[in-house]
């Protein structure tokens, strides 16, 4: 099998940029995203949710605007009737129960961490990222520069799922604006 080529390949830059006295933001692209969508129906949503939770090794089902992580992956409730599975492929479902879609190549995953990660993200997203409003596990569909982006607060920081074609353009903007905090490109 040939290697995958990321949308950011060769353009990410590296090292520390911006404020020489600080590294408030760390930008990273976890490689080889595995992202599958599972979309259920009104009468099957509960059963599908439970089977997905079992698949990823979690005890509960991710509710609206939330996520649940398990030993094998994470499930993000990105729409009322849709989940995204991160890190694990979708199982087979009868179409009467759910339909699935491999979206692994459709998004570029960017992980934003560091002490100023939330402050940095407010430079781009009109989201209330204060702890009480957006605790770990939260998921939001948002937009920056008119591009729809899904935001997930995982254990590693804030993860952005950016439409692949726009990702380099947004990445360039991120690196530039993160310089005010001091940014490390990992």
């Amino acid at each position: 099998m040939v290697d995958r080529v990321s949308a950011l390949a060769g353009h990410k830059g590296s090292g520390h940029q911006g404020d020489p006295g600080n590294t408030g933001v760390i930008l990273r692209e976890p490689p080889d995203l595995v992202l599958h969508q599972v979309a259920a129906w009104q009468d099957s949503i509960d059963a599908v949710g439970k089977s997905l939770a079992k698949l990823i090794g979690a005890k509960s089902v991710a509710g609206p605007c939330g996520s649940v992580s398990g030993s094998k992956g994470a499930m993000l409730r990105i729409e009322p009737m849709k989940w995204w599975l991160v890190g694990v492929a979708a199982p087979e479902f009868d179409a009467e129960q759910a339909v699935t879609l491999d979206l692994s190549h459709s998004r570029t995953r960017v992980c934003v961490s560091g002490d100023d990660a939330a402050a940095f993200l407010t430079r781009h997203f009109p989201l209330d990222l204060r702890e009480a409003s957006f605790p770990a596990g939260s998921v939001a569909s948002s937009a920056t520069h008119h591009v729809g982006v899904t935001l997930w607060r995982s254990e590693d920081g804030y993860e952005l799922f950016i439409p692949r074609g726009f990702s380099l353009s947004l990445w360039e903007g991120f690196v530039e604006s993160a310089q005010q905090f001091g940014v490390e490109i990992a």
Binding site: V5, A95, R164
Partner: protein, 997 residues
Amino acid sequence: MSAQRLQSGGRIDRQQRIEFNWDGRSLRGYAGDSLASALLASNETVLGRSFKYHRPRGIMSAGVEESGAMVTIGRGARRDPNVKATMQELYQGLHASGQNAWPNVRYDVGAVNSLFGRFFAAGFYYKTFMGLPPFEWGSKGTGLWMKYEKIIRKAAGMGAASREPDPDVYDHAHGFCDVLVVGSGPAGLQAALTAAKAGMEVWLVEQDCLLGGDLLNLADEKTEKKRLELIAELEQAGVRMMTRTTAFGLYDNGIAGLLERVTDHLAAAPAHLPRQRFWTLRARHTIVASGAMERGMAFGNNDRPGIMNVAAGRTYLNRYAVRAGQQVVVATNNDSAYDSAADLAAAGAKVCLLDARTRIGSNMLDIAGAANISLHTGSVPLNARGLPAVNGIDVAAAAGDGWAFESRLNCDLLLVSGGWSPVVHLMSHRGVKPVWDAEQACFIAPPIEEPIHVAGSAAGIWNTDACFDSGKSVGARVVKALGGKARARAMPEVGGWANPIRPVYEVRVDGRKTKAIVDPQHDVTADDVRLAHREGFVSVEHLKRYTTLGMATDGGKVGNIIGLALMAEAIGTEIPNVGTTTFRPPYTPVAIGALKGRNVDEHFRPLRRTPMHDWNLQQGATMTMAGLWHRPWYFARSGETINEAYVRETETTRATVGLCDVTSLGKIAIQGPDATELLNRVYTNPFAKLPIGKARYGIMLRDDGMVMDDGTTWRLSETDYFMTTTTAHAAKVMVWLEELLQTRWQDLRVHVTSVSEQWAGSAVAGPKAREVLSACVEDADVMSSDNFPFMGVIETTLKGGIPCRIARISFSGELAYEAYVPSDYAPAMMDLLWPEAQKHDGCLYGLEALGAMRIEKGHVTGAELDGRVSIDDAGLGKMANPDKLFIGKAMRNRPELLREDRPRLVGIKPVDTGQTFNAGSILCASNKVSGLGEGWITAVTHSPAMGHWIGIGFIAGGHQAWEGKTLVAADPVRKGNINVEIISPHMYDPSGEKMYG
């Protein structure tokens, strides 16, 4: 004017000397100075020239309302005009210069305008539109205006912006909080603390570089101690305190626009910091503690350098340690000036106080007496004397209801207080009409239903202690509204002066002609207001537009109240009957750069790259924009022009094989048990019986019967489809399908998902296309003609294990396929396809060749499907199935859409095949080349197949109506008229033999 820097006091750091440049001369100030205070201390008197009359202007205030000391900061690309010197912090190396003057503000040739002042009165500019009498009387019109407009514009004005690109970076940011407090005077500090102590998340924004508002201008230690204690408490309570930040506007749902000046005060700004930051703050409650502004009075030459408001005199004295004059006249009509006069006297100035009131209480007399101030009651300034700066005044004394000349006084500084105007701008932004309080002679914002509250002098509360109390009261009210606990406190009464104000807006004496300025920024005089009234402009809105009162960069902060008062007097009514001015955002000017943020240059729009972007560039692609997409335009070989390249690419593709990046086509996954039903409803042609493994071309209409989009849809399984759309309409179709499913057809179990980004596609077109693909798939048998007929779809694997879906469809008119792989494998796919294509002397082709081939075939795209076209107009009426329902079916049969003479899709060729014509040309009958013509041309190309220029477009009645006739392709602003013929749009291989072959 003989200003002097004091040896002690103030908030300047005398250990830090700062050198700066004013109009080419090096001057010195201290850290903590504003540009205005440093210029004042350097005895720079004339700092500007007025808009129309080029009158000399000096410092008039110490705040954002400054209308005299407006200067240009910086040089070259960083030249920033119309900066108020009062708001510019001094820094080492600051470069400031005067504006609207030649050779400089001190000796300005333009001052000659003053001699012709009577010709430049209100409405002067508008009157010039009527022509120059007597030369343009009658029917001659205003031809000369076009000439003298340039002279007028050059003579009038303020500073000039740099014409170079802005080199600075501006940031955008979003914020959220419980309580926004605007202004950090006593009310703001106290309100913020009250809310924060109750556990609220509070943002306190202050336009100044220091917190404290008017507290910064008081000299007593007790006040300073309290200010510092409050700030310390605010820090402890976790209040976010943002200095150098202006809340410039309040908007719906608690949104405030903030402008944070990040580096404007720095001599050398770090490269990683933006110059300014534009905040969109969403607050649950907003407390407006924006203070009040001191008004002047209209009297003769009231704009002379050396005349400023009383509070400014105190600010320069106590904050900047600059005594602005030695022989000072303080003119007031209210109590607030007395303390300031006393401070100046204590600092060694000889102070004479004119109070317009004839009777004042003992408390004021005591202040004046204790400070050894010469007090004249019932007196006002009538006219300022001296040029360029004030050296004395004529004093008028109360005489009945008016004034009479009394005496002359020498002075080098005249401080004026005509009352105070609460800063109600932010409330005005919310549509609140301020209410006139005749007792306090000011407008006050009434209560509002939104969670916005006013505290302190912004609410018309004058005394400092009462302002503290109002902050507590409003803070507690907000805390309770947010569900917190706070002890309710009574709101102090409006007002607070011991002696009532005597409204004085203008001082004039019959028989003495003076020029009294109402709006200094636009040189609007008291006579201008009266002239406007005489000419019939009586409403405040008309007054504003006719005289330009309040239209300059201060937005009416200085002149509006006096202007209203003068109009009220002229009409013979009260101020509130004239109307109120609606203040609109921004409160103070906001740079365009700050509004735009980082969305400039290459990030003006997000660039959308295909997964083959780098690969295409490596092959020598010249790129072009297709919407937001960057797509290969053509692949020029050495020395080739674009025309040579696309013709070669077209010929090569038709002769052997060509590869083209088609990733930008919209792709939508349609999934679910009812997916077929959805497609059957949105497409005009039937989809119910489309077999698995086949694709079908479909047209979808809008509700109104017009064509929305076309594309092919591939059936992958019983419940799974892969729809392609045009590049231009991808998002629109996706949104349309979502809307249908979520609003009209909630019963359909279908999910639609954009997979445009998941799949990268390449067209493989030309007689050798099958050979190329056969060599790249792991199982070549799948490519055989029997296994893979026209409109067939296969899911297979390319060499290297790359999953791939291929459909045999053709946009070029050749035997052709579209092959899609998951995007990260796109370069790998091209590395397989391209060597195979090269073996057949194939080529890579771009958008230009793609366009040429589709025009030859008469295939429509977004250029044709522009929203005005019915399915019949596009020549695709047969695809509308009469036996099923689909969106747009009813409306497409409207009589208007069935008219035979509607514009129909046609091909176009030049009569002289050596000629060319442009897309956008209007098709006209040869005997009537005028108006909207008979049709239009949407796309053109050189057709290698036909050997001459061709186009497609629309013409009334279509091909049959114009067959054999010569028309004119009219292109009046570019190419002129070209004779053309109308031909069938299917110009290449009309039977489709090559495509099906």
